[in-house]
């Protein structure tokens, strides 16, 4: 009872709960249609109908309805209020795949409350399936596939339908992952036509494909033949027999076959002519195979009438044909190695192993027969591919045969000519070029029958020796490729030698690359010579190992630090190049690139600086300047030389030798104390041209007290040192003279004397060994500086010697008396003046001397000086001088001590030989 009560309570609770949930879940309205699926691009209208109780509960009507799609309000323009409870919304051209549409109402306080919601799906109806085709794999069920057409964006079911004329089969529904094919669930029944089609259906429609009607046996793909085996025939080396087991389908249909075969190493298949295998069979004999060659076979089958599909290929089967005698003679050649024995040649016979296609079996050995002309033969059996024999210098014929289990090959013959044989007739137009990743060699045959050609090649390298490889070609071949392991970027030296019946012809060589590449290294450029505006660049040719191809050209890139790069292309035959138009005193960076057909490679950069001056530019400036200077100097010297007398008068006036003055002559007993130096030679008797003139400042009022003082001092000094000098003579004025004495002592003495020198000589004895009647003191009033003759008694002796020899010329002496204070400018003026004077005529000169005498008499220069002038005047008076005598004496020099406005006086002094001027 209690149990029943509990049950009732539980049932009541469940009922009430369900009722309340139902009330809670009861929507306020509905949207129609509830699950719409529409075609994309079409229009769609939804209607929301509110319940009456909701209208009353929320105090709303249809105008309060708000439509939303994917939580976004739909524009009011799309709304239509149908009645108090119903509102519709219309969408045009629906493009979205899936849209969530909700119907909402605005309750009190503008609160939005959801009423109902639906999902709108859009897509396309299915297209008609196209290209329906079926295949029946033998032993399996039929499978059909088709092209479904465009994407529908909707769940679309494809159903494969099939039927006989008398019955229908179960539908084949595609699986979700493979909607375009279907495997039927019934076994294929052959020889009964079946009709098949595809039905595609989704929410927007259903469409069926075109029906196809066929016999399944015409869609069969048989299983491949199995247990394919190859049987060798020992009777024939060119056939192999294949056997196999046909697939089970051969009990139903007739089969045809494809049989393919290839050699083991080949990649392409050969096929037995299809017409030979059009009937069902289980064996076939393949013919025309190569002896001793391993072949690979495979087979497939299909329905005889070509309806259906080829089976897959069977598993491959291998078989080797039986051996046959070698079909060709081996390639045969020789090399003559240097031999130490004069009588023999070491000949290395070399040959190539026959390729398998020509050996036709395993080569057991080679037989070499060496036959000397008209002599015996010698046989060798060799397992290797070379044989070295010593041959004389005669002609030999050597044959080679290869032997296998079945027999011998044809003989290969080479003729080794005698030592004096000269090869000729080379091939012409030899060319080598890469093609199809092989290095081809082409040539034109010489105009002579060629038995064969020998092609030799090796890699040219700077480091490795040339190790040649070789091959032989038939005499009719003019083009072939090198059958060696050639590598790219290597330079091959290829030599072609024609072989004639009498021996080998002259070889011809050519270089070639299998494949060129850019050089590994670039050329290293350097400067050979750098000029102001040009630079000579030089470089070495790239080694063969790094060329990687034929160097076609070089490019020189040069630039300054800030300038653009300039490129110059240079032919590959050059190894130097001159860059011109460069800027002086500029740093240049230059590099070179070498180019092959496949690219280039830059070398290292080299920098150089152009000099500021071109070579020789400085010399071009300096040398002309120096030359001009030298020329000027030379001209100056020449000028001076030509005008030396004139110049000498200006800068080195002749100084009269006091010792040769008249006073000295007047004192013939004065012992010779001085020797004339070389300068005195100038005043040798024969050279005395100038007239000795003593220029006296007649109008100089200054008494020259300083000079007088100096004169006094000099007098004292003279007395103390020589003793022979006396103070009788002396000049009241300071005499000046040029320092014409080279010796410093002499200079010094000259300077000393230049200050105040008292020219006076005490004559102790007669002049020139003449005994004067009366020993007198002759006093010179000259103010000339002391000459060397006074300091050097030797000079006087020289004079004496001259006198002794009898070449007695009247010595000319002149005094110069200068009262000027200055030693320089007055001298110059005096020189000019005297020069002018010297150019005057003789009459003027005489008249001037007379005037000077008269003027000097009145000059108050001191008593002694006055006296001397008187004496001179007396001399002029008592010693009548003829005009001719005057002419004998050239003026030695003149000193003009002239102040402006001061008249000059000249005192000509002439000395008659052996005579004395009267005192």
């Amino acid at each position: 009872m209690s149990t029943l009560r509990i049950w009732l309570v539980q049932a009541l609770v469940i009922f009430l709960t369900a009722e309340s949930i139902a009330q809670l879940l009861d929507p306020c309205g509905y949207i129609y249609p509830e699950s719409p699926v529409i075609q994309r691009g079409s229009n769609f209208t939804a209607v929301c109908v509110l319940k009456e109780e909701c209208l009353e509960r929320y105090h709303v009507n249809a105008t309060y309805i708000v439509w939303k799609t994917n939580h976004v309000a739909v524009p009011k323009e799309q709304y239509t209020i149908i009645n108090r409870t119903t509102s519709s919304v219309t969408f045009t051209n629906m493009a979205s795949l899936s849209v969530q549409l909700t119907c909402n109402i605005l309750t009190y306080g503008q609160l939005e409350q959801n009423v109902y919601g639906i999902n709108i799906l859009s897509g396309f109806p299915p297209d008609e399936p196209k290209n329906l085709s079926c295949i029946v794999n033998e032993g399996k069920k039929m499978m059909c596939q088709w092209d479904p057409g465009r994407e529908t964006y909707l769940e679309t079911n494809f159903t494969l339908k099939s039927e006989w004329a008398t019955e229908k089969f179960d539908d084949c529904v595609t699986k979700r992952g493979t909607p375009t094919l279907c495997l039927v669930n019934y076994p294929p029944v052959y020889f009964v036509n079946i009709e098949v089609w595809v039905e595609a259906a989704n929410a927007l429609g259903k469409v069926t494909s075109e029906h196809i009607n066929f016999d399944p046996v015409d869609r069969v793909k048989p299983n491949p033949p199995r247990n394919l085996t190859v049987n060798t025939s020992e009777e024939m080396s060119t056939i192999l027999k294949l056997t196999w087991i046909n697939p089970s389908i051969k009990n139903v249909i007739r089969l045809k076959y494809n049989i393919q075969y290839r050699t083991k190493d080949a990649s392409t298949w050969s096929q037995v002519p299809p017409e030979d295998t059009v009937a069902t069979r289980s064996s076939f004999t393949i013919q025309d195979l190569k002896p001793f060659t391993e072949y690979v076979f495979r087979i497939r089958c299909m329905k005889e009438d070509n309806k259906g599909f080829w089976s897959d290929w069977s598993e491959e089967a291998h078989g080797i044909t039986y051996e046959d005698r070698p079909s060709k003679a081996p390639s045969f050649w020789y090399k003559i190695n240097p031999s130490h024995i004069q009588e023999y040649r070491s000949v290395q016979l070399i040959w190539k192993t026959l390729p398998a296609s020509e050996a036709n079996g395993k080569i057991l050995d080679y037989e070499v027969i060496v036959t000397q002309w008209k002599s015996f033969s010698q046989n060798y059996t060799v397992n290797d591919t070379e044989l070295i024999v010593n041959l004389t210098h005669n002609r030999y014929v050597i044959t080679l045969t290869a032997r296998n289990l079945v027999g011998k090959s044809d003989a290969a013959v080479i003729i080794i000519p005698g030592q004096h044989f000269k090869a000729s007739h080379p091939v012409v137009d030899l060319k080598a070029f890469p093609k199809d990743n092989m290095l081809w060699v082409e040539w034109t045959a010489p105009h002579k029958y060629v038995r064969k050609y020998i092609l030799e090649w090796c890699v040219l390298s700077d480091k490795l020796p040339c190790i040649p490889d070789w091959q032989q070609e038939h005499g009719s071949v003019h083009q072939t490729y090198l059958r060696g392991n050639l590598v790219a970027s290597k330079c091959y030296l290829i030599t072609v030698t024609p072989v004639y019946s009498i021996g080998p012809g002259s070889p011809e060589s050519v270089k070639a690359y299998l494949k060129q590449a850019a050089p590994s290294k670039g050329p290293i450029v350097r400067t050979k010579k750098v000029g102001k505006n040009e630079a000579v660049l030089e470089w070495d040719r790239l080694p063969v190992d790094v060329q990687n191809g034929f160097i076609r050209n070089y490019s020189i890139f040069y630039r300054t630090i800030v300038g653009n790069e300039t490129v110059v292309n240079v032919d590959s035959s050059h190894t130097e190049y001159t860059l011109s138009s460069l800027s002086s005193d500029t740093l240049y960076m230059v590099r070179m690139a070498a180019y092959t057909d496949e690219g280039g490679k830059d070398g290292p950069e080299f920098t150089f600086t152009t000099p500021k001056f071109a070579q020789g530019e400085i010399e071009a400036i300096v040398v002309p300047v120096c030359l001009a200077f030298l020329l000027t100097t030379l001209l100056g010297v020449l000028f001076c030389f030509n005008k030396r007398d004139l110049i000498k008068k200006h800068i080195w006036p002749n100084v009269p030798d006091p010792s040769k003055s008249h006073i000295a002559q007047w004192s013939p007993h004065t012992p010779p104390r001085h020797n004339f130096n070389s300068k005195d030679q100038i005043y040798s008797d024969g050279n005395f041209t100038d007239v000795s003139v003593v220029e006296i400042e007649a109008n100089d009022k200054k008494p020259c007290p300083d000079d007088l003082k100096s004169l006094e001092l000099f007098k004292k000094e003279k007395i103390s040192t020589e003793g022979h000098s006396s103070g009788i003579g002396g000049s009241s004025c300071m005499s000046s003279s040029r320092p014409s004495i080279s010796s410093s002592d002499e200079n010094e003495s000259a300077q000393n004397t230049a200050s105040t020198v008292q020219y006076s000589t005490v004559v102790h004895s007669g002049y020139r060994h003449q005994v004067p009647s009366v020993q007198v003191f002759s006093r010179s009033e000259s103010t000339q500086p002391l000459l060397d003759s006074e300091e050097r008694p030797d000079d006087l002796q020289l004079v004496d010697n001259v006198d002794i020899s009898g070449d007695i010329l009247p010595r000319q002496q002149y005094f110069k008396q200068n009262c000027s204070q200055s030693e320089t400018s007055p001298d110059i003026s005096h020189f000019e003046r005297s020069d002018q004077i010297s150019s005057g005529n003789e009459e003027d000169f005489v008249r001037l001397k007379q005037q000077q005498v008269s003027d000097h008499i009145s000059q108050s220069c001191g008593a002694e000086q006055m006296k001397m002038f008187q004496e001179v005047s007396a001399t002029g008076a008592f010693g009548p001088v003829t005009e001719g005598q005057v002419e004998q004496f050239e003026p030695v020099g003149m000193e003009a001590a002239i102040d402006e406005g001061i008249p000059k006086s000249y005192l000509p002094q002439t000395v008659r030989q052996g005579g004395y001027m009267p005192q």
Binding site: E163, T166, P187, Y190, F191
Partner: protein
Amino acid sequence: MKVLAAGVVPLLLVLHWKHGAASPLPITPVNATCATRHPCHGNLMNQIKNQLAQLNGSANALFISYYTAQGEPFPNNLDKLCGPNMTDFPPFHANGTEKAKLVELYRLVAYLGASLGNVTRDQKILNPNALSLHSKLNATTDTMRGLLSNVLCRLCNKYHVGHVDVTYGPDTAGKDAFQKKKLGCQLLGTYKQVISLVAQAF
């Protein structure tokens, strides 16, 4: 059997291709309804020949496979146990007209089909591991279905025969295993002989 239920003609066959059905049906009158799902193919006779050849080609293997699968004493007592001595086997006259031969072929194939159905059912029970035999039995049965469709199509299209009365062999459902094996072996032995004659007749 579900497949065969589709269509009018198959419906007739279904009614009489039950295991154990025994009463033969008379030939349908010429004016009987003769409708097919789609037009029959024009190469029906060639297909029938190929089907007969196919059946003939596989009959012996089926027979061998059957008695081998049954084990002793069948392989060594084929004459006694598997001899073609079935009395109710539909007759076939190779020298008749094409229409007559087709009608007799129809009855023969209907009979064999039904009997092979019984044998197949029994062998799946008696020799569940004899998969090769099962496969052969199924393949033969399927081929006979196709042959029957072609023959009926030919009769219907050319001779407008929409219905043929057929007979069936004894139902083996209530027999013991050996009897089932023996009846099956006798059926296949007879089939091997008859199908050879029929194949040659077309």
